[in-house]
Assembly symmetry: C2
């Protein structure tokens, strides 16, 4: 019998382990075109918090009493699908569980790029795709730009830092605590601001005395306000996430919102799904960067299906450096 984490109740503010329940899940026998997979790695991501609210968005909300979903890598253990063989590894969206039945269309065979398979949930997966297209397309970042990246020790932020450096940009990064800051510095960031050591506006004004051309936002709130304050003319902001607001119903307030006008700032929200048609471009650019060591991958690994909610909750406490993963 498979086991899956279910949404027991909708979180109100910060989620707790009480919102989740691990239950048996009866899987059907395979129909034509389906495979059964045993999951090896599960992804937990901040965006999942949004799906726990009963709000229409770009993906439907999770339903109370139903299994949760998310990125995962599994091994095929049984197949009635053409072109998919037992033993092959696939990436899919039926995470938060140990076993799943997938339609052929939802099971994506991992390309053979010679990297550890879990990286397809990180730097070569949705995380990397988000960082790559958010920086280069949504924010239109160009060589020579001064780029500010928040949550730079996180999964997406740490890839943004490295892609920006590989493309000849100056990188100002923020992270929480000395250890994370050291790691971000080791990735090549030119200036690293410890946002826990003082107001981010002060840190950013000192770290980027010439201002910024690009802001890659993973945080929102005070970070976004500080970026507005120091933006140069024609600055571009790519809004990837606003983790500061996911569990806090207080409206975000902005002292520097009017600078949008005088500095001609463009702020653009984006969703990684919109870039899936350009995956070929992503693999051909990123795989060599990873092979050469120009872009490094780092994971924070939690072991065991039982720990999946803990891994997820840890995202909001800054417990991960790099990509947070669950290993089954």
């Amino acid at each position: 019998m498979a086991r899956a984490w279910h949404l027991k109740s909708r979180p109100n503010g910060m989620p707790t382990s009480e919102n989740f329940e691990l239950k048996d899940l009866e899987l059907p026998s395979l129909s034509e075109g389906q495979v059964r997979v045993r999951n090896l790695w599960l992804s937990v991501d901040p965006y999942m918090r949004g799906r726990m609210n009963d709000v229409k968005s770009y993906v439907p909300p999770f339903q109370v009493g139903e299994p949760l979903e998310g990125g995962a890598i599994g091994e095929i253990v049984e197949s009635k699908a053409d072109g998919l063989q037992p033993g092959e590894l696939v990436q899919h969206m039926s995470g938060w569980r140990d076993e799943a039945v997938l339609d052929n269309a939802g099971a994506n065979k991992l390309p053979d790029l010679g990297v550890p398979k879990e990286q397809f949930l990180g730097v070569l997966g949705v995380t990397g795709i988000t960082a790559y297209f958010g920086l280069l397309d949504a924010a239109q970042a160009k060589p020579g730009d001064i780029v500010f990246v928040s949550a730079a020790a996180g999964a997406v932020g740490s890839v943004v830092v490295q892609v920006a450096k590989a493309k000849g940009m100056t990188v100002i990064a923020s992270a929480g605590g000395a250890e994370k800051c050291d790691w971000v510095r080791s990735l090549g960031a030119d200036q690293v601001i410890d946002y826990k050591a003082g107001p981010i506006l002060k840190g950013l004004a000192e770290g980027a005395p010439k201002g910024i051309d690009v802001y890659f936002d993973n945080v929102g709130g005070d970070h976004l306000d500080a970026a507005l304050a120091v933006a140069r003319n024609n600055a571009r902001f790519a809004i990837c996430g606003m983790i500061e607001g996911y569990n806090d119903p207080t409206p975000a307030s902005f002292r520097f919102i009017q600078r949008i006008i005088a500095a001609r700032i463009t702020i653009k929200g984006f969703i990684v799904l919109d870039y899936f048609p350009r995956l070929g471009e992503f693999y051909s650019e990123m795989a060599p960067c990873i092979a050469s060591g120009a872009v490094k991958s780092r994971e924070t690994v939690v072991e065991g299906l039982e720990k999946t909610p803990d891994a997820f909750l840890g995202l909001f406490k800054g417990e991960n450096t790099g990509k947070m993963l669950v290993k089954l």
Copy 2:
């Protein structure tokens, strides 16, 4: 002796008549390349409030004790400049005074488009240029779009309504009070929301049940937040002004800022100066619209140089319908 309004002190919050002083201004005799003009019409605009703060922006701040500046139309009374003759009308930036000495480069002869001269401070001037390029370029509004325009009874907003209708868009407009709303309806707006009659979010949700593709922002604050709430996927916001915040130091707060991500909203601030190289395009599109009556001009006229600060202060009390002008 010329007379000019000077900045007596910097306003703290809402400006008052105490911040302004009408004083004699000794003008130099003409050098080669200069003209002397007698001003006939002065423009007062919300953006001038920003220049009264001691803050670096896209134009330098006004200085305490110095004359104020702004758009004006004057008649040449003396000329040492090639191609500029006494009796000719010019548009220039030495407003807030009755007489001025201008360099040739700062005196722009009015093109002969067969419209009343004061319209070159409104629908055919900076006001119209702002509306036209803000809507069609900054917001990339297209035929068929649902466009929300705030302060639609104001100078810029009323032109946006008319250009949007002329281009085949659906227009949702907001204005303050029944009389202004009636006028905006007469300009062709499909739905008009009286923001003084209830929360703008409620009005907008009812007035635009299918959401909005474009928001032309003259107000900021709650209007901007409501637009975020109802924006459809890939909506574009052009931020022209945020009059709600010009006199209020309270940081603007936003309940719906996170929708930038899920709805892939693009928010773009713009400055009309950046579009001056495209004035030819503007005149060739707008002059026929005005001649045909597709775009109408309306002015609120205050008479006498002495009343210039009153006209300016009236902008923040909603005293103008259409463009606020001072006639000398």
